[in-house]
Every structure is written in structure tokens, then in C-alpha cells.
């Protein structure tokens, strides 16, 4: 096992009150495995990733409980300088927006090279050579000529490749990619996802892919964890979930997307809105929007029931959902 998150809690203290962004999240990623974390805005999927990486804005954010066990050590108990050594070298992150994640006044060569000068103590010249090789590896054409260019001189897809190169630089065991292709056009998205999948196989890295796109998940993930209101509501191998979801929220999501392969009737729409994190409904957080909700859902928070050896669902009525 590479990474295990256990019962993680994160809060944000704001002027208007306490927003409970993450409320007991648990998931695990094995070596060489791709876990997709699926959720809509405000579900806590990115905040969980930030807590794992140790890049949460503190304050207003605060981890109030749980463990993040990475290669046998609980990261939350480490000192900041120990965490900094792990970050980049052992685990790396790819962000959605490459343009604002890269430094506009440094050349891409300098930014890639920095990984080697800081973590590996290489000379500038050596680091430059490594940067060119990395750019080659993520298939940026004419790497030798372009290593001295600035981020704005690259297209969106090429910038995302530079982000990937930077994450790969020190060959980490785990990569967390937060919506890595959301800002890209479909044809470019296909290029980048293919590159990411290939590199992951080559390096046998674990990958946590954070996304809201059910199509992307189906394409690359081994397992899925679906998040709602700061909790995992369903977790399963990818084939199981698309065949028969065991949580009404997952079912609702799958039913509400229009399909490329046929003309649909009226789309199924999950009624209502995602909850306000300052006042999450009691019981099951999804109950106000759930077609299966009954009295018990309004009072008792469902645990993650064991659906099978590899599946879990946080729904009191998962059997009904599965049979439906």
C-alpha cells in the first residue's frame, strides 16, 4: 500500500462560521494504481488532496482529525521541513490551471531545473540538461530550442505537459492530478490523458486523479471514490460502478449526463442543490435530494457499508439502489 487516508477532517474558519469541507474521508491507493476521486464543486475532493500534499491554506483551513499514511508514515505528524522533502520528491501534484501554476517570469527550463538543483544538488548546467530530457519525455517538440522560453510562449496543452514534466522530475511514487485536463480542449485532453497513462505505467506510480468528468474516469481509472459533502459516498472498482451504482448520488450523476452515442429523452436531473458546508443536513447529507430517502436517512448518518470485498456504499438502502 502506497497511501492511505483515514478519517480525515478539514475545516475552514471564516467570518460567517465554520465550513466543514472534509468530514471523515478515507481512501487508499496502491502502487501503480489509478484512483479517481469524483465529485462536484464543494465536495471536498481538492481540499483532501491539499491536506495530503500539505499545501492547505492554514489558516483559514485546519486539519482537525485523521491520518494520512504514506509509505508507512503518518504525514500529519511530520514537521514542515520533513514534509517539504517528501513533496516533489516522493509525491507531486499537477494542477488544473497550468498558466497560473507556472512562474511567468522564469523560463520553463529554469523552473524544471529548479527541481534538480534544490532536491538533488545538481549544477545549473546539469539541471538544464535534465530539463531538456524531461521535456523530451513528455513529448514537447524541439525541447532543446524551447527550454529557454517562457510559459506564455506555450499553448495550453504544452503548458500542461510542462506541469506533468515537473511532477515527474524526481520520479515520485505518487502523483495527485487535480482536474489536469479540465481547462483543455477535447483533442488536447486526449493527448494529455494518454501521455499521463503511459508515463504512469512506465514509472509504476500511484495516481490520484481528481475530476468531475465521468467520461475521463471511465477511460483511465482502476478504482473510483465518489465524494459528496466532504465524505466518500461510494467506493468501487471502475467497472462495477458504471454497471450498477450502489449509491443514489452516483446513480443520479450517471443518469444526468447527456450521451454522445444516442439522442436522449429528457435528462434525469438530481433535484435541489449541493449542501452549504456551513450547515450540512443531519443524517445522510444527500437525503434532501435523494429519491430513496426515508425517516432513518434524516436522523442516522450511514456508515460506509461493505457491499462486497472491494466495494463500499454510504447508503442505508444500497441494496435497493443496486437492484434498481
Amino acid at each position: 500500500m502506497l497511501l492511505e487516508v483515514r478519517d480525515l477532517h478539514v475545516e475552514f474558519h471564516t467570518r460567517d462560521g465554520v465550513a466543514k469541507a472534509v468530514n471523515g474521508v478515507g481512501y487508499r491507493v496502491d502502487e501503480g494504481e489509478t484512483l479517481a476521486v469524483l465529485g462536484e464543486s464543494g465536495s471536498g475532493k481538492s481540499v483532501t488532496a491539499q491536506a495530503i500534499m500539505g499545501i492547505l491554506d492554514v489558516p483559514p483551513g485546519r486539519v482537525t482529525g485523521g491520518e494520512v499514511v504514506f509509505q508507512g508514515r503518518d504525514l500529519l505528524t511530520l514537521k514542515e521541513d520533513e514534509r517539504r522533502r517528501i513533496r516533489g520528491a516522493e509525491m507531486a501534484m499537477i494542477f488544473q490551471d497550468a498558466l497560473s501554476s507556472l512562474n511567468p517570469v522564469l523560463t520553463v527550463g529554469d523552473q524544471l531545473g529548479e527541481m534538480f538543483t534544490v532536491h538533488r544538488g545538481m549544477s545549473r548546467k546539469q539541471a538544464r540538461a535534465e530539463a531538456v530530457e524531461l521535456m523530451d519525455r513528455v513529448r514537447i517538440p524541439a525541447a532543446r530550442e524551447r527550454v529557454g522560453q517562457y510559459p506564455h510562449q506555450f499553448s495550453g496543452g504544452m503548458r500542461q505537459r510542462i506541469m506533468i514534466a515537473m511532477a515527474l522530475a524526481l520520479e515520485p511514487a505518487l502523483i495527485i492530478a487535480d482536474e489536469p485536463t479540465t481547462a483543455l480542449d477535447v483533442t488536447v485532453q486526449a493527448q494529455v490523458m494518454e501521455l499521463l497513462a503511459e508515463l504512469r505505467r512506465e514509472y509504476r506510480m500511484g495516481l490520484v486523479l481528481i475530476t468531475h468528468d465521468l467520461g475521463v474516469v471511465a477511460d483511465v481509472a482502476d478504482r473510483i471514490a465518489v465524494m459528496y459533502a466532504g465524505r466518500i459516498v461510494e467506493s468501487a472498482p471502475v467497472h462495477d460502478i458504471y454497471k450498477a451504482p450502489a449509491h443514489p448520488y452516483t446513480r443520479g450523476l450517471l443518469d444526468s449526463i447527456p450521451r454522445l452515442d444516442r439522442k436522449g429523452q429528457e435528462l434525469y436531473a438530481i433535484k435541489g442543490l449541493p449542501p452549504n458546508l456551513m450547515s450540512i443536513p443531519p443524517g445522510c447529507a444527500f437525503h434532501p435530494r435523494c429519491p430513496l430517502a426515508r425517516d432513518v436517512c434524516r436522523t442516522d448518518e450511514p456508515p460506509l457499508y461493505q457491499v462486497s470485498a472491494t466495494r463500499g456504499s454510504a447508503c442505508h438502502f444500497w441494496r435497493e439502489c443496486l437492484d434498481d
Binding site: 494518454e194 474516469v217 481509472a221 447527456p258 452515442d261 435528462l267 434525469y268 436531473a269 438530481i270
Partner: protein
């Protein structure tokens, strides 16, 4: 098709690039839209898809007269609206309204929802006499599924999906016949997106609206459109009914675009053919000669660099007819299935 309500021919928008400050010289142009033809029937939905920079939003702006075309015509019920001005233009604008992409920036944060939705009546007072406006706004709120009691609230008190409903209500205020919607659901979460798409579907039949629906999400466009046009670098490269385009694409760009869309079916992963295009879209300041897609096309031959392919039914399909016989601007058009057959169920019914 029924009598077109909107007919666009050879629409062009070039943005000049100048050099020098004292002696300004034109040093080329961004050819954002470079010869587009469209027809929109009454009560019909025309979807326009394409990647960023293909010119789809510029087309939208010209349709509602926010941009003046460099050349070409836009005929609304036979009358060329690009030549109109003053009172005549105002009258036409009433009938062609727009819904914008970003529900966060397209609503004035200092105006109440009632003022935002009622503002069109200030410009066109003939539609609603002053005393009648509040009532009309309440009606509109109800029509788009918002509580009419919210009339005095401000945009920040609403979620993204609700704001988009406000934008739609404003678009409907003048009872237009055509609504141009530029990426109306792409800023929304999946579950909310379905609500807004269903709303637009319902309003269309209720008010007999014609939509020009612009989006980059090919699945959403298929869902809502009767006909679809695929744009690349300022031109329509293929157009037809949704079945013709999605199940029988003949232009290589359309095929690549469709094959790149991730399908929510892990079973399709192994046996799905992916066309991965190499390189990036060329700059609209420096458009390739002949076919503008040839620099990324795996089928390109010498002829493609010399001759601009016309948007017409390719000769190979014209005789036989059938769903492959639709307009496609390719010298070597071939049918190719790239969308996997739907296998697992999904959606009620």
C-alpha cells in the same frame, strides 16, 4: 427544413493587426471567422461545436449584433440585419437575444434580480408598460423555475445554476424568436447542468424558440440539437442532423473530435479507436493554404494544400444518398464510425 428564420451566408470577421504608433500600418489580420454559412429554422436548435479559438463565440456575437461582420450577411426573416441601424436594428434585436456562458460575470452584482430581468423593458418599453413590469418579471422567474419572491435579491445570493436561470429569464423577457446561447451550461456542475438543459428544452417547446446553441461539449450539443455544425479555424467543416454528424461523420476533423470525447463506459476502453491529432491548431493570423485542417490531417495529400474544399455533399455520397450524404468540406471524405455503440443503460426511459 422549414423556412429559415435566420440565414447566414459567407460571414467573415477579421480583426486587423497593426504595427507602428505614428504611421499605423495593417500587418495582417486575425481571421477569427472566415466564411461561415448557417441556416436556422423556426423552433429549431442548431448546435455549433468546435475547440477554443475556432470562432464560434465570434459568430454568436455577430448574430446578436455585438460585433459588426467584416463581410457577409445575416438575414433575419429575409432582411439583412448587418446593414440595419437605428430604429430598425433595435426592432430586430428584440427578437434575437443572447444567453452568456458565465453566470458569475454576466449579471450586474449591484442590481437586483428584478432590475436585471426587467432591464430589457427599459430599452423596449412597448413590450411591457411601466406598471406591468414587476408582474412580468415575477412570471419570468416562475417560468425558469425560481421563486418569484426572490425578485428583490442580488445575484450573489444565488448558486451558479440559479444565476444561469436568471440569465435565461432575461433572455426571454422580450419574447424573442431566436436565442443565441454561448456555452450556457459549461460553467455548471453535472447535476445542475442537467436541470438547465431540461429547462432550455422545455422553454423551447413552450415559446416556440429557435436556439443557436454553442458549446464545446459534444454530448450536450447532441442532446439538445436538431442539426449540428462543426467549426475549425473560422469555418464550418461539416454540418448535418445530429445522427448524420455523430453516427456518420465524414470529415476527418469531426472524426478526431468525436473519438477524443471520453465516454462514460469503462467497457469501451479497450476496443475503442482513438484518433489522436498531432500538434496544435494553427494561428488564425496564419491560416494554411487550401484545406485549413491539412496540417493536422492524417489523410492530407498535395491537393489539400492547393484547393480549398467546398462545404457540400461529397460526390462519393451524393449519388447513394443516406446519412453519409451531408455537407462535409473534405476532398477525401470517408465515413468512419468513431462513437461506440451505447451499451449500458443510463437515464430513465
Amino acid at each position: 427544413m422549414t423556412e429559415p428564420i435566420l440565414e447566414v451566408s459567407d460571414l467573415v470577421k477579421h480583426y486587423p493587426l497593426t504595427r507602428g504608433t505614428v504611421f499605423r500600418k495593417q500587418a495582417g489580420a486575425v481571421r477569427a471567422v472566415d466564411g461561415v454559412d448557417l441556416r436556422l429554422g423556426r423552433g429549431e436548435t442548431l448546435g455549433i461545436v468546435g475547440e477554443s479559438g475556432c470562432g464560434k463565440s465570434t459568430v454568436a456575437k455577430m448574430l446578436v449584433n455585438l460585433e459588426r461582420p467584416t463581410a457577409g450577411s445575416i438575414r433575419y426573416k429575409g432582411e439583412d440585419i448587418t446593414r440595419l441601424s437605428g430604429r430598425a436594428l433595435k426592432a430586430v434585436r428584440r427578437n434575437i437575444q443572447m444567453v452568456f456562458q458565465d453566470p458569475y460575470t454576466s449579471l450586474n452584482p449591484r442590481m437586483t434580480v428584478g432590475d436585471i430581468i426587467g432591464e430589457p423593458y427599459d430599452i423596449h418599453p412597448e413590450v411591457a408598460p411601466k406598471g406591468d413590469r414587476r408582474r412580468k418579471v415575477r412570471e419570468l422567474l416562475d417560468v425558469v423555475g425560481l421563486n418569484p419572491e426572490y425578485i428583490n435579491r442580488y445575484p450573489h445570493q444565488f448558486s451558479g445554476g440559479q444565476r444561469q436561470r436568471i440569465g435565461i429569464a432575461r433572455g426571454l423577457a422580450l419574447r424573442p424568436e431566436v436565442i443565441v446561447a454561448d456555452e450556457p451550461v459549461s460553467a455548471l456542475d453535472v447535476s445542475v447542468q442537467a436541470q438547465v438543459v431540461n429547462l432550455m428544452d422545455r422553454l423551447q417547446s413552450e415559446f416556440d424558440l429557435a436556439y443557436v446553441f454553442i458549446a464545446h461539449d459534444l454530448s450536450v450539443v447532441r442532446h439538445i440539437s436538431d442539426r449540428v455544425g462543426v467549426m475549425y479555424l473560422g469555418r464550418i467543416v461539416e454540418t448535418g442532423t445530429d445522427t448524420e454528424i455523430y453516427d456518420h461523420p465524414t470529415h476527418p476533423y469531426t472524426q478526431a473530435l468525436l473519438s477524443a470525447v471520453p465516454v462514460p463506459d469503462p467497457g469501451a476502453r479497450e476496443h475503442r479507436e482513438r484518433i489522436i491529432l498531432s500538434g496544435d491548431v494553427p494561428s488564425p493570423t496564419d491560416i494554411p493554404s487550401g484545406c485549413r485542417f491539412r496540417t493536422r490531417c492524417w489523410k492530407a495529400r498535395e491537393r489539400c494544400a492547393l484547393e480549398v474544399p467546398a462545404l457540400a455533399v461529397p460526390a462519393t455520397f451524393a449519388a447513394a444518398g443516406g446519412p453519409a450524404a451531408h455537407d462535409s468540406a473534405c476532398h477525401f471524405a470517408e465515413e468512419r464510425h468513431v462513437v461506440p455503440e451505447g451499451r449500458h443503460g443510463g437515464g430513465p426511459g
